[in-house]
């Protein structure tokens, strides 16, 4: 753009202080399910956008899994072109209001922001959220002119990976149908991430934007059982299929006492509360059996969500029990400090070895041991080692497991897709599975990860699917045909991925 750029900004000329975002007071917010972080006001957004140095070769874009033109969207905030800013965001990411809330920006764009070397980095995530919220408030949506290309694309799972892929495919003109096993779309955005971090109205609104692109959602459909992936390609006539079914099968520890009443997975707690409205029992029919003293095992983002939900549902005391320390904890720093502010107790270097029950079959306590950190393990984190003779009783009437997930077995049971040794789908570098025309991304490929990583893989798979369908990809530079036999077999380019499927009548 040939707009007159303001004078070159330097680290000295930009506002030194990061704009503060209002949050609900911790004493107040534990009483409700309203959002904790209230977002920027216009002034905050303008101030914060001034802090961007508009680097010519921005590190943040490279740090973003979906490669948003971050500099572009921030510059347009500064210029007052909010709509243009939204357009730039939605070029790469249709869900800015969601990603601005749940991305771990400190490890991605903000983590590599050069401003962060001297000052606090530019609050890219909060700016993204501000633009996303503004668009929802103004009712903006981008409906590009889409020329139908006749291809049918089936997407398994309406979580982050699935919808990112769906959006990209729909924009190229494909007829996209997203299948969801639950009765409402959104996957982890719906059942997992609680209302106070990501309100359902934001999920609904951003999903509506997808339907404007022509994406169709089919809920109550468990692919694999209602029809198989193979049948999607044959009977249902999909030309290509993307699988983003998520990891989702909760792990337990196999210690004694796990059958007691009051032992449940964080997934179950969150699903009952977020999807089924258990907090509003008996108006909603789904109950949730939380006690007064809740121990959540694990210290990832799911654990934080589970603890903070339990607190809001009225638990007297909520504790986090983790066998390593805060430094090794996989949760975002912001989540841990929010949880601490709300009065959650952290018990680091503690591991349960048995869950103890009373005569009614309810949990009454856990038998725990204290740990210390030993040598680093494969993950690079120091391995926790039990301190001998350190056993003690930890009082709790509810034990929630948030120690990770295993691969969901349904697709493995019902299709010939190749799995790796842990049960996740095996894919090549283009995210192609072992079945021609079937691609996969998200947690079912990587194991439990973040929303934005899943979206990144969804988009990457969409690129592969476009080239599989032979749709010209404008982001790809097509090289002129090479002479000679190098890289070719019978004159066919080895990099070409073309399959012919015969449909038998």
């Amino acid at each position: 753009m040939a707009t007159s750029k303001p004078k070159k900004k330097t680290i000295r000329t930009i506002p030194q202080e990061r704009a503060r975002m209002l949050v609900q007071a911790s004493t107040q917010r534990v009483e409700n399910f309203e959002e904790v972080a209230l977002g920027f006001e216009l002034d905050d957004a303008l101030n914060e956008s001034e802090r961007c140095l508009l680097c010519p070769d921005p590190a943040c874009v490279a740090g973003c899994p979906v490669a948003i033109d971050i500099v572009g969207f921030i510059e347009n905030i500064t210029l007052g072109n909010y709509r243009r800013s939204y357009d730039i965001l939605t070029d790469a990411n249709l869900l800015p209001a969601i990603c601005g809330r749940v991305c771990p920006q400190e490890d991605q764009c903000e983590g590599v922001c050069p401003v962060g070397q001297t000052l606090e980095p530019v609050a890219i995530g909060r700016l993204e959220r501000w633009v996303g919220d503004l668009a929802l408030a103004k009712g903006w949506s981008n409906e590009p002119y889409i020329e139908p290309n006749g291809f049918k694309v089936g997407i398994v799972g309406s979580g982050p990976a699935g919808i990112a892929c769906a959006a990209d495919m729909a924009k190229t003109g494909c007829d996209v149908t997203v299948f969801e096993a639950l009765h409402a779309p959104g996957g982890v955005l719906r059942y997992g991430i609680p209302e106070f971090r990501l309100p359902n109205r934001v999920v609904d609104a951003e999903m509506q934007n997808l339907t404007r692109l022509g994406v169709k959602f089919e809920c109550n459909t468990l692919v694999g059982r209602l029809f198989t992936v193979e049948q999607m390609l044959s009977d249902l006539g999909f030309h290509t299929v993307f699988i983003g079914s998520g990891a989702g099968s909760p792990k337990f520890m196999d210690i004694p006492g796990e059958s007691l009443h009051g032992v449940l997975s964080a997934n179950e707690l969150l699903t009952r509360c977020n999807l089924m409205g258990a907090g509003d029992f008996p108006r909603h029919d789904t109950p949730l059996d939380l006690g007064d003293r809740i121990a959540v095992i694990g210290s990832g983002n799911t654990a934080m969500d589970a603890m903070r939900v339990a607190l809001r549902l009225g638990a007297e005391k909520v504790c986090c029990v983790y066998r390593r320390t805060r430094d090794e904890s996989p949760a975002r720093e912001e989540e841990i400090s929010h949880a601490e502010e709300e009065g959650i107790e952290f018990h680091w270097l503690t591991a349960p070895v048995e869950i103890l029950g009373n005569e009614n079959g309810n949990v009454r306590a856990m038998r725990c041991v204290r740990m210390e950190l030993g040598e680093p393990d494969e993950s690079g984190r120091r391995r926790p080692v039990e301190i001998e003779g350190s056993e003690y009783e930890f009082e709790a009437d509810t034990v929630v497991y948030a120690i990770g997930t295993n691969a969901n077995p349904v697709l493995g049971q019902t299709s010939k897709l190749k799995l790796n040794q842990w049960g996740y789908l095996e894919v090549d570098e283009n995210l192609a599975t072992s079945m021609a025309g079937v691609y996969a991304g998200g947690d079912i490929v990587t194991g439990a990860a973040t929303v934005i990583l899943a979206m990144g893989l969804g988009r990457q798979a969409a690129d592969s699917m476009k080239s599989y369908l032979g749709i010209r990809d404008t982001e790809n530079v097509y090289r002129p045909q090479q002479r000679g036999c190098e890289g070719k077999l019978f004159g066919i380019d080895l990099e070409e991925k073309n399959f012919t499927r015969l449909r038998l009548a």
């Binding site: 099968s249 059996d289 049971q413």
Partner: protein, 306 residues
């Protein structure tokens, strides 16, 4: 059809103004209903794709209305020509009693997802006893039919409290080489529990290679204990508390041969000799207090409703 009746106990509030999420269906229509007794009723649900995919042994998860809970129900039959599946429901708690009132032809169930779980593995069984008791009578029917169609010699054993509760006798007889009814009070067939029926059958046949038992956990436990000393393979279908039914929540975990299994994706059928039934029975009581509260609130709401 958009005439979803609202649950009886309910105050109006903003929940209804939330825009409908994309992908929400117009519901799954009920096309038929038969009442077997004042607590047991049969529903035909129109879902052509599901009727095509369903196989014996599988189940569905049903939500009756927008505020409803997800309940697992075993598929009792399916008609691929009509495009329907059949569910037989026993009104025991709030949801199933409410469904008894709401679910008439013309009503749309809010959600039906399935078929879930592994279909029955018919194996090479040549002579089987199919046992159904209580709410397990209907679910055992498609299995029994599948065994018969596969060429096995089928002995059907069904248990009811008394003569008046008996249903589907003709349907069963059509696919049974022998059919034994057991009633608690002896008003029809053998007096006693279904285990008496099993004992009678094994006394007259020494070459039975499989028993399939579906019903309340206590009944399945008794069946498994009856066959254990005889060494007859016994398959049971478990019905623990579930939320999603797709392997995501772990609420339906059961202990089988000392290992934790999820009934929704690893089952619902397991070897009855390996199942820890006491564990299952305890875990089924997990929400008892809430179930009672829900039922009471609902009953009061009905009384006060116009």
């Amino acid at each position: 059809m958009k005439n979803l009746p609202k649950p009886v106990v309910q105050t109006s509030d903003q929940a209804q103004t939330i825009p409908q999420a994309p992908g929400a269906t117009a519901g799954y229509p009920i096309t038929g209903r038969v009442d077997f007794s004042d607590s047991t009723y049969l529903l035909d649900v129109y879902h052509p794709m599901l009727s095509k995919a369903a196989a014996p042994g599988q189940f569905v998860i049903v939500i009756s209305h927008e505020y409803g809970e997800r309940i697992p129900l075993t598929i009792a039959d399916y008609d691929r020509d009509q495009g329907t599946i059949t569910l037989v429901v026993q009104a025991v708690g709030k949801t199933t009693r409410e469904m008894q009132q709401l679910c008439k032809p013309g009503f749309n169930l809010f959600s039906v997802v399935g078929p879930l779980g592994f279909p029955t593995d018919l194996g090479n069984a040549r002579k089987v006893i199919c046992v159904g008791g209580g709410l397990g009578v209907a679910p055992v029917y498609p299995q029994l039919r599948a065994f018969k169609t596969a060429g096995a010699y089928v002995i059907g054993v069904v248990g009811f409290r008394n003569q008046d509760l008996i249903f589907w006798e003709d349907k069963f007889k059509r696919y049974c080489d022998e059919f034994i009814v057991c009633t608690d009070d002896g008003s029809a067939g053998i007096k006693g529990l279904v285990t008496e029926g099993i004992k009678w059958a094994v006394k007259h046949h020494d070459d039975i290679d499989r028993v399939v038992a579906i019903g309340p956990p206590i009944m399945m436990k008794a069946c498994a204990e009856t066959t254990r000393p005889l060494g007859i393979e016994t398959i049971v279908s478990l019905n623990p508390i579930m939320v999603d039914g797709t392997g995501m929540c772990g609420g339906c975990r059961v202990k089988v041969a000392g290992k934790t299994k999820f009934a929704c994706v690893d089952g619902p059928e397991f070897n009855g000799h390996d199942v820890d039934f006491d564990d299952l029975i305890t875990r089924l009581k997990r929400f008892r207090a809430y179930e009672e509260q829900a039922a009471n609130t609902w009953c009061q709401g009905r009384k006060s409703a116009p």
